[in-house]
Each structure stands twice: as structure tokens, then as C-alpha cells.
Symmetry: D2
Subunit: 237 residues, 4 copies
């Protein structure tokens, strides 16, 4: 099969690889629906995101179609349209049992695509523990929207969760690319009252307001912390 | 001064009392703006909410005006329009230090109005630790709206906080009077995805939907848990 | 193979069953080392602990020996001596992913032995997801001690965890059978300062003190709460 | 009265000051029992711990005697022997209400002694909100032991609390001076199973073991993280 791979640091290209094998818990998918590139793909090629890789197929954001499932898979069958998360943990590992599936079987090692195995920019890709790591694409949801879920939405929302946003909190999100915007949305959904977003690109600023930012901070206009504290103070008077 | 008091279990009436004294941390307010009766006032008179009281002035929801402040009060002065919380803790008590101000100085003893001292249905009422227990009425906020804050909003929101609602949770709020409606609003603001509200009165059902309920359960139509599980199951298919 | 089974409510006896099959993630063990009966086995026979069962082999506390492992098992091999937890979750299930492995695949359904499949009181027993659900018996640990881990220790400790014991807390454990004693030990290890244990049997009272109880309450001597509050009050004076 | 003061950066000396005034909630104490110097006193003089100070009396660890109390103080009277915490918050402040008394009325501003008012190295010192900020010295407790509580014990224990140590956790404490040793003790009391302590002085190493350290790391023997991971790995085999 063909795949778009990182050949080594600083070099990408199409390569030919064996179609992946399907274990009893796994699924093989193909990405006929939607794929999205991530800045992390760029990082990976540029400098090795979590280590240098050779001839590793890139990509970890996909809405795909199941073409084969293992004998123990119960919830999916060939033909199912599925949302494929960027992080596909080993759920039985000690780290997952302790609540850190993203680090299952090693630091960041829940992020398998294009790091510990080939990614989704290929004719076929492999999903471990399919029942635990795939979600059916709900009817009526556009795959183009859904492909934002595997990484952009959940990474941003998890940032808000890690920050422990509580009702009425003041939150500042630095950077309003897709993940930052989803951190704005997550903080808003968790009940932030005063929600600063730091960025300058007009379309991102508009999106940040749409997702719940109450104040926009331009990092070119001075120190971010100073600007936040000043606006906060003014709001409390 | 005059006040509307619980004379004893089952009996209310206007009584005459001394105007309360102002300690160095305290404020004396009068309620020229808005008062609201609470079902708890009814409970108190009916059966003694947290104990039987005699000649105790009722009421714990007020937007009032400060008429006197103690020598150590820094943030308020006579003439200020203030929102008065139903719960006015002793903030230095062990219970408050441990994070339970509502139980400061004893079980439920943060609820002083009409329990441990006279309430707000009087010409004047006393607020302990004014700097810690009063909030300025923000400009542009209608006192009629603001009077929902001292008990209805915060009690409902705190219910959602105690439930530990997380992004994407399924929540069921049983009862959609004012506090229940604010629990619906709180759970919605904290990120509930599937939000059941149990009630039947058409205006409350409409309000529950406005505040974020995704499903209404009629408790007359069968067991509440069965109805929730059935709707939940159907939604997941 | 032979097994000691619940034949139905109120009836136990030895029965003959097929040796269990080993799936790719599983292990088959035999219990040559130590088994322990649990009061839950008695409950199960008496009234059906989580439902009535027929010809279901009992037992969920074992230190055993692995006799067979599936093709995907990495950490265990035949001959390994293992501690077998009472609860053997499906780690990829939604409930486990959300932090409730004991309820994986359904309410209490992480408790499979003698509920959803045959238990350990048999010549052979089956362990699902062996890598995730078995622990090697450490060298030098007596299996007779180790068999307290699968249920007594972890259930008592988890009770203390669910109670959220913090440094300096006052804790009361009602009942000092094996699980209660381990709740005493867990609360003590989590930093309780004042640790009440309620019970009367002299050997249990002695054990409770050994595990950290600072006060023993005799439930025959009056209301438990009254006794705790009185002792607490006296200690604070 | 006399006091040992920071005269400015890098300069200390005895100075003469007015005896502090006692407000209605406050106490005036004298330190006839025990005082302890803290490395923070040294930092403060050396470089200004949280800002440069002039003629500021030093010291924030004391077991003293009450000589005067304000009219609203209920729990203390002249002659009481008291443990005086290093941090004496304004308990009604917004920060305290939100659970951060150490930052009451401003970043680190709960730490008043020798920062926002004169410290305890004087003939008399002032304690704000005496009922909330003093503790009676229990009978039978040596003041020399008790003076470790105001800063060393609580700072170390709070470190363990902030780290969220849970039953069975692996914890590494870097530095085993008095606060580090109390972080070891705190982590041990909260249930750490594997407790690394980093230090070299023989008396501190011995104390760390006494307080629960299971492994000592010598930072001169190589990278701390490498040593911890290696020992951890070896322990798990």
C-alpha cells in the first residue's frame, strides 16, 4: 500500500509498505472520508516530535471506514464509518489503570500513530483495541466536522480539564489556533466567567469570541500578564 | 422596628423589636429594594427548619441598602446597594477554614438569618463580617433579578458543584422549582451533555429547557430512573 | 473439572464442569496455593449477591498458579505464581475508561468470579485480560498473607479512598471484620489523626488498634454518633 | 520595645519600636517560650524574600504567650501559651474564601510577619484574627518541639498535599532540610509506598529514613531522575 511518510528528519515522501495485520482486538481502516494534517506532523518531520523516525507514515486525525476487524471485536464491522482518535491507548496498561491512558505503556506512548506505528496517511491503517478506541460517526454529522474531534477538540478540552476550570473562574488561553480555540470552548463549557484569549489573526479572534472568549489580548500590545491583570482589575471596579 | 416573624411553629405575625447593633466588622442594612420569600421560610414556620424558633424575624433573600457599617469595614459605606447572601459565614471558624463555610460554627450554622438571628423581613437587619458577606449590586442589574442570587442561584449551582459535573456528563435534576432550575443551569454551565429535568408544570418545563435541559421527565409517567435509562439507551443507539 | 458451586439460592455442592477455555488475552490458573472464602460467597448463596445464580462455582479470593496463557499475553507464563484480584475488569470498556473499572460493562460487572463466570473454588479458573488483571506473587511473600489482597485489603483501602481521607482527618469505621480492619489501616495510612473503630470482638478490637485505631466504640454502649461526638469533644478540650 | 530587624538588604540589627496595637479581633503576644529562625529570614535579609523591607522586625516561627486580646476574641486570654503560625490569613478575603488563605489579600500576603508587619523576634508581636490564627499549646507538648509546627511541619505537609500523594504512590522529595524532611513525613503519612529522598548530610539522611524515606539519592552520584528511574525499575523486577 502507499503512504505519505516521514523518511527522516526534514524529509517526507510517498512510500510503499505492507498492509497492516489485524490482531484479534484490532481493526484495519481506510481513510476514504477525511484526513487532517496536524502541526504535530510538521513538528515530527522537522525535529522528531517524540523521537526521530525513519520511513514512518504520518497522520493521526482521520474519519475512516472499517475494512477488517479481529475475532474479538464486538462493536464494529467492515463498512462502519468511524472517528479515529489520535491517541489509541493500551487500556489494560498500568498507566491507563491509573488514569493516564495517554501515557499507556510509556511516556506519551498512547500516541501510536506516526510514532510507534504507521499513521493514517495511507491506504490502510491499523487501530489497536478497536472497541475501546473507535467511535461510530453519528448519522448526520459531517465527516469534515468530525475530523476535528480526534485531536483538536479533545486536546483543547483536556487542557481545560487539566486546568480544573470551575464555575465563575477567570481563565486565560494563550494561542488561538485550533487547539487553543477548543481550550477556549472547553473553558467556556466548564463555566469560566471571564475568559481571556491571546492572539491576533482576525479570523481566529472572531472564532475565539464565538467559542466564548470575553476578552482578546494582543500579545504585541505588551506583556500578557500585565494586560490580563489590568483588564481584570478594571472589570472588578 | 417592625418585622414579620415566626411567633412559633405554625404562627407568623408582625412584631416589634430593637434595631440590631452594629459590631466593628458588621453592617446594618435595610431592605428598601427587594425581598423574596423562600420555601424555607415556609418550612421554618411549618416545622422549624433547623430547630423551633420563637419571635424570630423571617427572611434570608434580600437586595438592600447599607445604613451603618462598623469601624473595621473597608469595602462598604452607608448608601451602598448590596446583594445579601442567605448564608453569612463566620469566615475564621474551623469549618470555614476547612472549606465548609455553610457549617461555620456548627452544622448549618452559616445560615444565620431567621435561625440564629433575625432575618431580613424587617425595617433593619444585621450582616456579620460585611466585607466578606456582602456584594455590591452591579450597575445596570435589576434588583428584582439580583434577589435570586442570595439563595436560588447559589444553592442550585452549588448542587451541581457537589455533584462534580464534568464535561460530557449525563445529569438528572429532580424537581424544577427555582433551586432545581438553577441546578439545571449550573450543570449545563459545567458542561453536562445530556441533562434530564424532572417536573411537570408547563412554565417550569419551559424554563428548564431554557436553562439547558435536553430531556424532560414526567414523574407521573413512571419510575424516574427507568425513564432516564430508557431515554439514555435510546440516545446512544 | 470439579468445583464447589452455588446450586441455587440456599444450596451449595460439588459439581463437575468443563475446564474453561483460554482466549488470546486470558490465562487459565489453578489454585494450588491458597483460596479464601468471603462473606460475599455466603451472601451470594443466601440471597444472590448481585442476582440469583444456578450451578455457579463460588470463590473470588485466590493465590494461584498459571497453567495456560493466550497468545497475546506478555507478562505471564505457565508456572507463575499469581495473586488474582476479586475484580477483573474489562479495561477497554467505557466505564473503565471513565475511572470505574469495578463497573466495567455494567453495574458491578467487573466482579466476574461467581457472578458472570465460574469462580476460583475449582480445579481451574479463567482470568480475563491476564496482563492487566494478574500480579506476580513477590518472592518472600507468604501466599497465606497474599490472599488477603484480592478483596480484603483493596476493598478496605478503597473505602478509605472513596471517603477522601486527608491528613489530620477524623474518621469512623463501622465494623471491624477483615474489610473494616483494612479500612482502618487505609485511613491510617492516608493520614487520619483521630480514627474511631466500631466493634466488640476482642481479637478484632486488638487488630483495629494494631492497624491504627485511636478509639474503640462499643455499639452496645449507646448510639455510635453520640459516642464519637462525645469522645471527639473531650479530646478537643 | 526591642526587636531584631532587617534594616535593609544585607543588614540586620536591634531596633526600638512602638509596642503593637491590639484591634478587636487581635492578640498581642510575647515570645518568652521559643522562637526559631528560618532560612526565609536569611533570604529576606539577603535579597528581600517578597520585596525589600526597611527596619522590619524579623521572625515568623514562635511559641509565645498571649498578653492582650481584643474585645471580640473568644478563645484566648492573657497568659495562654500559644503556637503562632507563620501564615496568619485574613480569613474573610476573597482568596481565603476560594481556598487560598496563604494568598489572602494578595499574592503571598497571608505571610504577614516580617513582610507586611513586624515579625516575632521582638518583645511583643501582633496576631491578626486571633481566634482563627492561634492554637493553644497542648499540655505535655514541649514548646521546642511545637515551634517546628508554624512553618517546618505545615509547609512540608502542604507540599505533600499539593502533590496529591495517594496510597501506593512513588514520591521523590528533593532536599532534606527541615521542610524537605516534613515533606517526606507528609508523603509517608499520606500513603506513599516508594519514597525517594535526595540529600547527603548524614544526620539528614538518617532523619529522612526515620520519617519514612525508602531510598536515599545522592545528587552527587549522577542525575537525580536517572537514579530514581533506575532504582524504581530494579524494584519492580
Amino acid at each position: 500500500m502507499k503512504g505519505l511518510a516521514m523518511l527522516g528528519i526534514g524529509k517526507i515522501g510517498w512510500i510503499e509498505k505492507e498492509k497492516p495485520q489485524c490482531g484479534p482486538l484490532d481493526a484495519i481502516c481506510r481513510p476514504p472520508l477525511v484526513l487532517a494534517p496536524c502541526t504535530s506532523d510538521v513538528h515530527t518531520v522537522w525535529a522528531g516530535a517524540i523521537g526521530e523516525r525513519t520511513d514512518m507514515i504520518l497522520g493521526h486525525e482521520a474519519v475512516g471506514e472499517v475494512v477488517e476487524v479481529g475475532s474479538l471485536v464486538k462493536d464494529f464491522k467492515p463498512g462502519d464509518k468511524v472517528i479515529v482518535p489520535a491517541i489509541t491507548p493500551d487500556w489494560g496498561s498500568t498507566e491507563s489503570q491509573e488514569g493516564f491512558p495517554q501515557h499507556s505503556s510509556g511516556m506519551l506512548a498512547g500516541w501510536k500513530f506516526s510514532n510507534f506505528k504507521d499513521g493514517v496517511f495511507a491506504e490502510y491503517f491499523h487501530v489497536n483495541e478497536a472497541d475501546a478506541n473507535l467511535a461510530l460517526l453519528p448519522e448526520g454529522v459531517d465527516p469534515v466536522d468530525a475530523v476535528m474531534i480526534p485531536d483538536m477538540v479533545v486536546t483543547g478540552f483536556h487542557g481545560a480539564e487539566l486546568a480544573g476550570v470551575k464555575l465563575g473562574d477567570t481563565v486565560c488561553v494563550i494561542g488561538i489556533g485550533p487547539v487553543g480555540l477548543m481550550a477556549v470552548a472547553g473553558a467556556n463549557k466548564m463555566g469560566a466567567s471571564h475568559l481571556f484569549a491571546v492572539g491576533t489573526r482576525p479570523n481566529c479572534v472572531e472564532a475565539a469570541k464565538f467559542y466564548g472568549a470575553t476578552d482578546i489580548i494582543n500579545y504585541r500590545a505588551g506583556d500578557i500578564a500585565d494586560q490580563v491583570l489590568e483588564k481584570k482589575l478594571r472589570a472588578e471596579v
